[in-house]
């Protein structure tokens, strides 16, 4: 155990693996340590029940940065995304439901069943949002500018970010202020009248946050849905072949191909700090591994309070990191089904179910789900985002059978009884989800062969996501950009020299984008610390 690595990466999630791949590609000796027996972190595929493979946590791939695919040659290493076409919304009082398709005219007809005006405004809205998404793209593809700095270089990077607003004109600029600050429901009210149409649109603003669709500051996340177009891909949402873990495996393969070493079942206790400098890691079994730098792919809370330890932090920094809000709000329920569930009595064929299925009949529905969660209960009637990836990728389930993966919000980590009470609630929670689905698929009970319930507590205990936050920290404005995770340390550095960060808890944030891993690695290489 005398080898000294250039870099040790704690956590084999997709960001950690991407970070490792970039560092290894630059000729550095890299070691990735993963606590679990599988790689991928929250981007993982597991055969939970014999023959049924699930994307246990994260289930769709949307904003994975195309340049990472190019630069790391990920397709060669197995990166394979099957695009999703439809987005279906079953309705309790309308057997046809609402389905949105890649075909704009068809979508217009679908929406016109609920509002003629909205059906036409939908296109106009997409145009404006795509235009404004230019900013979001600018933001996620560069390290966050440091607002506190008076360094002219930092200011000029701020200005560059601002330049995308040129040509927007005063009206769009005004729209942009609204977008950045308003609630997603209010923002959509500026455009649309149909509560049905607004339901699933508004929801995209609250995924993974402990906020409601009427909470200010949720509108800007709507932009993410329009960013795919800027990447040159018309349909950016898709399933990874073999489950979301496929993305992580491709990243791992790429890292290995460049010479990185990856070990699983290795539990890091904390970072070895000598004279305020990180010099390696200390494992739970007491072993030490030395390195020139350490990159933590864990969330900010774990990185600062467990890997570094409060003793090694100034009180100010410790206070700031404790202010960082994690508040997980969602869970997953994964079903192994004996056959195809039918979410519409009237629709023929399976096409409408091959994308995502959103249980959110209107805006109030999901706001009421939030109201319940605010006071420490999981939503009896939650927002559920369902995918049945085995319809497009039959390798995931035995022939004729299916895997159905349900993202469920709200399931607040901090329930009334205290988070450690979650294991006792898991079955009840699973029942609530199954019963909600039953309103649309009456025979669901007879289809279910197995059920896996992943509570926010499980997300913390099994996947190491503090408070079960799927984005390693809420994506609210005060926790973004130069404030993610805390101001002064938003550029992947930490108060401990040679300890870096790369996870979703860093700029630009969560989702399977890969940006944290990439930008962190590029910052490390630029500083020539190794």
């Amino acid at each position: 155990m005398s080898k000294k690595y250039d870099a040790i990466i704690i956590g084999g999630g997709h960001n950690g693996l991407i970070n490792a791949a970039y560092l290894a590609k630059a000729g550095k000796s890299v070691l990735v340590l993963e606590k679990r027996h599988v790689l991928g972190g929250a981007a993982v595929s597991e055969e939970v029940f014999p023959g049924f493979t699930f994307s246990v946590c994260s289930y769709v791939v949307s904003l994975f940065r195309p340049h990472i695919i190019r630069e790391l040659n990920l397709v060669k290493h197995g990166y394979d995304i099957i695009p999703m076409d439809a987005s279906f919304q079953p309705l309790p009082d309308d057997d046809f439901g609402l389905c949105k398709w890649g075909d704009a005219s068809l979508t217009r007809r679908e929406i016109a069943r609920f509002s003629k005006k909205d059906s036409e405004v939908y296109g106009e809205f997409s145009k404006v949002m795509t235009h404004m998404a230019k900013l979001a793209k600018e933001v996620i593809d560069h390290p966050a500018p440091d607002v506190a700095s008076i360094n002219p270089k930092e200011l000029s990077s701020l200005l560059r970010m601002g330049k995308v607003f040129k040509n927007l004109g005063p009206e769009l600029l005004q729209m942009n202020t609204k977008l950045l600050t308003m609630s997603s429901a209010d923002f959509l009210d500026l455009w649309f009248e149909s509560e049905v149409l607004k339901g699933p649109m508004a929801v995209s603003g609250i995924i993974g946050t402990f906020l409601g669709v009427r909470s200010p500051g949720t509108a800007y996340v709507l932009l993410h849905h329009y960013m795919g177009e800027l990447d040159g891909a018309f349909r950016s949402w898709g399933f990874s072949k073999g489950g979301t873990g496929g993305v992580s495996m491709a990243c791992a393969n790429a890292a290995r191909s460049y010479g990185a070493e990856i070990r699983t079942n290795v539990n890091v206790s904390h970072v070895k700090i000598v004279n305020g400098k990180a010099t390696g890691v200390i494992l739970a079994n007491g072993d030490e591994i030395d390195s020139k730098i350490v990159v933590s792919n864990l969330d900010p809370n774990r990185t600062y309070l467990k890997m570094i330890g409060e003793d090694n932090l100034s009180p100010n920094i410790a206070t700031e990191i404790k202010r960082f809000k994690l508040r997980g709000s969602s869970g997953k329920v994964n079903f192994a089904l004996s056959g195809v569930p039918n979410f519409s009595k009237k629709r023929k064929g399976l096409e409408y179910m091959k994308g995502d299925i959103a249980i959110v009949p209107n805006v109030d529905y999901v706001e009421k789900a939030y109201d319940q969660a605010k006071y420490g209960e999981f939503s009896e009637k939650p927002y559920i985002n369902i995918v049945i990836p085995s319809l497009t990728d039959p390798t995931l389930a035995p022939p004729g059978k299916h895997v159905m993966s349900c993202f469920v919000q709200y399931a607040p980590f901090n329930i009334k009884e205290g988070p450690e009470y979650w294991p006792k609630l898991a079955d009840k929670f699973g029942d609530a989800v199954q019963n909600t689905i039953k309103e649309y698929v009456p025979d669901i009970d007879s289809l279910v062969e197995h059920r896996q319930v992943v509570t926010p507590w499980d997300l913390q205990e099994t996947f190491g996501l503090t408070e079960g936050n799927i984005f390693q920290g809420e994506l609210t404005l005060e926790q973004l950009l130069f404030q993610r995770p805390i101001s002064g340390y938003a550029k992947y550095k930490t108060p401990i020299r040679n300890l870096w960060m790369s996870g979703s808890g860093t700029h630009p944030g969560g989702g399977i984008m890969g940006s944290g891993g990439e930008l962190s690695a590029k910052s490390i290489l630029k500083e020539k610390v190794i």
């Binding site: 909470s215 404005l477 005060e478």
Partner: protein
Amino acid sequence: MSKFDVIVIGGGHNGLTTASILAKKGKKVLVVEKRNILGGIAAGEEFHPGYSTTGLLHDTSGVRSQVVKDLQLEKHGLDIKSNRANVTLLSKDGKSVSIQSDVNATVEAISEFSEKDAQAYSAYQEFLKKISKVINDLMENPPPNIDVENLTMGSLVVLAKKGMMLKGLGNKTMMELLKIAPMCVADFLNEKFETEFLKAGLAAPALYGSYAGPWSAYSTINLLLWESASKNHVIGGPQALIAALQKAAIQAGVEIRTGAEVEKILLDNEGKVEGVKLSGGEAIYASKVAASCTPKETFLNLFDNFQLEYELDYWIDKIRSRGTTAKVNLAINKTVELNGRITEFARTGNSFDEMEKAFDPVKYKQVTNAPYLDIHIPTHSNPSLAPEGHSVVSVLVHQIPYDFKKGWSVDAKKQLGEHVLKELEVYSPGFSKAVVGIEILSPTDFEERYSLTEGHIYHGEHFVDQLVTRPIPSCSRYKTPVSGLYLCGSGSHPGGGITCAPGSMAAIEIIK
């Protein structure tokens, strides 16, 4: 056919301010007021024989000292103190605390139930003092004239940053400001204080007139604005301010017509303002019109279809002004104590959860059973408002939706009154039995009586995108794209409440 230089629509505190300043500068000014009395929502009114309020709103802490000085209002009888009035925060368990302009006294009062909170309060006041200069600078001047065509988000941040640095804000305070500004007021105060009713009471002003609960993001900004701007106290309440303003206006030569409702703003062939048409058909001519009514009332009701550019019409229509305030005026046959105290101003709230629960129904166009109250008992300082030994209790009830699903019928209002009485009974046992008269005004009544669009007391919600560039960017410096038309009401920067600030800054713009 007399011709004026400027016609001011609306004789509320802002309209009168604008008119007086213009008249003092030698302009020939006419104020037209729909109602038979002046004052708008600052007008004191008899709501039950022998019992009067001092105004629909009762907070006069934001009245601008500069306006008082410029219009010599003190000479016209205004008695204004440069201290905020004491406010008692009430808890259901019988506790209460008086928040006073004297920080030390307040700290001492808080320390009776929480030493930690007492210290936190002192630190909080320090922080507010540090940032109030920056905020007041923003609020006391017309919004910065930004070249919108060439504006970039980055340049804005750089500009703002330079501005803040210049004001002597340290980097640390600035970063703290950036951190807390988007926060919800509950998170913000939870970081500082532990006592629920104290937090709730301190947070309440952030939610007045807004479509928000304490858990709504950005509510902290409203709190900081209110805390920074609230410095004064008018003896006699809003109506005393109106009385002084009226005298100042008349002395300056302003012509005032009450009972004169404007039906249309008249434009000439080139689209320039040429006057107003009253609902009786009478046309009055002037080259400039200043509207102190709401922006939506001004543009959407006082013009015909297609008269305005689509872009203007579109953005005005998008202004959010969802009324969430109701008023209950009570005539009481005794002296009222709240939690055993004699106090002129009091707030209830108890806890963030309770306040949030009061807001929850608003989202579904429903009314809460347990409203939190903003209470004013003007008879404590001015007994003449009621028969001897009796009291007037004027209650602003927040989080009461304009668009109540069932509609604001007589029964619905009665029910609201009952909920309010039930709340008051908690703090003042036997209260209900002492009621001799009651007036309940729903948000729709506000709209009807005061022409407040959707009953919104601030002419438009105070929310980030509707502040500074208030009400919309192209009208944000009081001037509008309609040549000769100016806005001078609460719908303009720096916003609503009884401040006279929009009225005075609009007047300066009109003279230019």
